[in-house]
Amino acid sequence: MTSTLDTPSRMDLRWKPRDLWCALAGAVSLALVVWAASTVALPVTSDLGLVAALPFPFWAGVLILNAAFFVALRGDTEGPASRPVMIWLVAVLVLVLFGTAAFVTDVPRGEVAFRHLGIANALSGMQQIDPNIDAYFNWPGFFALLATVLGATGLDPVTLALWAPVLNVSLWLVAIAVLTGYLTRDPRRRWLVLWLFCLGNWQDQDYLSPQAFGFFLYLVVLAMVLGPLAAKPATFHGFRPAGLGQWWRERTPAEPRTGFRLAALVVTLLLIPVITASHQLTPFMLLLVITVLTLSGRVWPGRLPLIAGLVLVLWLLYPASTYLAGHPLLENSGLQIAAEANVVDRVNGTAGHLLVVQLRVGLTVLLWALAALGAVLEWRKRRLDLRIVLLAATPLLLFPAQAYGGEMLIRVSLFALPFVALLASSVLLPGDGSVRPSARAVGALVLTCFLLAVLTVTGRFGNAQYDVFTRSEIDAVAAAEQLAPPGSSVISAAHPTPWRSQSYLEHRYRTMDDLCREDLSPQTCGPIVYNYARHNPGGAHLIFMRSTEASVVLQGDNSPGEFTELEEWISMQNGVQLAFSNTDARVYRVAP
């Protein structure tokens, strides 16, 4: 009952010519994408991001890949193409969508991955946890893992961060493949869910982070809950207490082997504390989803939500108590605050950036609309699995609970995405699994998914003008951190800045837009930054980079000229010297 239903495709080892052609087409598309991406010149100058810089062969590769996948998915009357071919095509899609930046540059995108490397580096140096440093040291699980892996493997941290998106999405897909196996018997739909998940995953949460790790373990727990720990609900006797009690008691385990259920419970009980120790948000999402599934009568161990809740409360009361003392859980809660932080504050900037934001919203709305339609279609066919709807909708409940730095909506859409993709797949493949899609339907699917791929690449790499760093910028940040004496300040104009990966605890890191509350005009911000730098006993090093200027301009926080004026104003003050410069950055030393 709870094995991952049937094999996703034929296990027949004899490959048909069509399978070989599809595999070859996958290889061709990968070659095209890698070559095309490697020709992109940095820095990216368009406010549309990488999409404007990728040459035509990249898109030809994406189109060929979608065509190959859907020809393979169509397969023949026995089902889709052989499993190795389908896995290969999904692997190519992962490389195409999530490895693109790594084909463009050897520097990881964004600031946060660098910071996370710095935390792991700091932990390795301290060899213990000081929760007073910051929030990360109150949820240190992922960083402890990272410190151990980096120490033992000798891997280059930057290379690991560069390829982390490919690694993380691959892990997620293994988990999604298993859990969708418990939710649908249709092998074509199961492959399509993986495809749609990749195409809808513009959220960019797969970098080297506790979120990516937590999401993987979250999916594994769901696989346990939907599989060996699932329950068959009893006949519903109404909402009266006696009827509800009878309904609850009469549910039966879906997995008949007691040993398997016990083993799955032990695995789950290991994963829950690890998730809780590794990430702030994921345990809440997990608790919510497990509770809703349990209340629907679809989970056999009825006390699982209590255990997950207890672990979470204990973690908050003890290891994370230092952070929570100054940061109450519901500090930024409420629908209005969440809406302002997650939507209103993000719809700003240049015309190109606004278009990217709108396309991200459009892609999400499109997938949710397809999912809603899919749910209706399944319900009308009397085969709607309530669990899928609950898993897709429940993350929304967390939206008003915390603004989460304006990222809650992104996280909510990520947590819902596997199940949104599953519901949407029933619109795109309306048959019952035995029906082979027509050639015309395959053509429509290819075009639809190509469009989704364009939207995802646009949304995902839409900030490339400022989150894809040049080698010169990396050199400038390294120079600033090297020149700055311990205890002094390192001040960048704005986020993202690729810093703190080597000296997380050695300096005070600030940005000018934080110090000046996003008003970077020289009259206002200049004196604030200058006085802050002068009053630090160790002085300060100020970093002005092309990417940080692009960041504030693109997001509408400042006009292009103001940034240059601010730099000129600061550079003319007493005790300010140019310490390093190259084509994309300048570093100034401010004497105390």
């Binding site: 402890a144 000798g154 290991l270």
Partner: protein
């Protein structure tokens, strides 16, 4: 006959591989080999040893459990060592090697009993 005598060959190989790779990782290997050996001894072998204690027959679920159990156990061990202020990556390698061997012994007992 002892449980180890009755254990199946893959379990014995798994336990021996954990010992050998842990030693090699601690001694140090050239970079790509060190990476492979460390990933195996820290994540894949413990994950496999723990996953085979469960009666999973499905390949996809088995693969998922190897990865999840390996990563989760290493996270738990590393985090605990940091909180106890006894962390070093070498100590983690030894701990994960010991966990792998203990899981192999438990598996050997299962195999002997069946």
């Amino acid at each position: 006959m002892s449980a180890m005598t009755l254990a199946k060959r893959p379990t014995i190989i798994l336990g021996l591989a954990a010992v050998v790779l842990a030693l090699l990782t601690l001694v140090g290997l050239p970079t790509p080999l060190q990476t492979v050996a460390a990933v195996a001894v820290l994540i894949l072998l413990p994950g496999r040893a723990l996953a085979q204690l469960t009666p999973v027959t499905d390949l996809a679920l088995g693969t998922l459990l190897v990865l999840a159990l390996g990563l989760a156990t290493l996270t738990a061990v590393s985090t605990a060592m940091f909180y106890l202020a006894v962390w070093s990556w070498q100590a983690c390698v030894i701990s994960m090697g010991v966990i792998t061997i203990l899981a192999c012994i438990a598996r050997a007992r299962q195999e002997a009993a069946s």
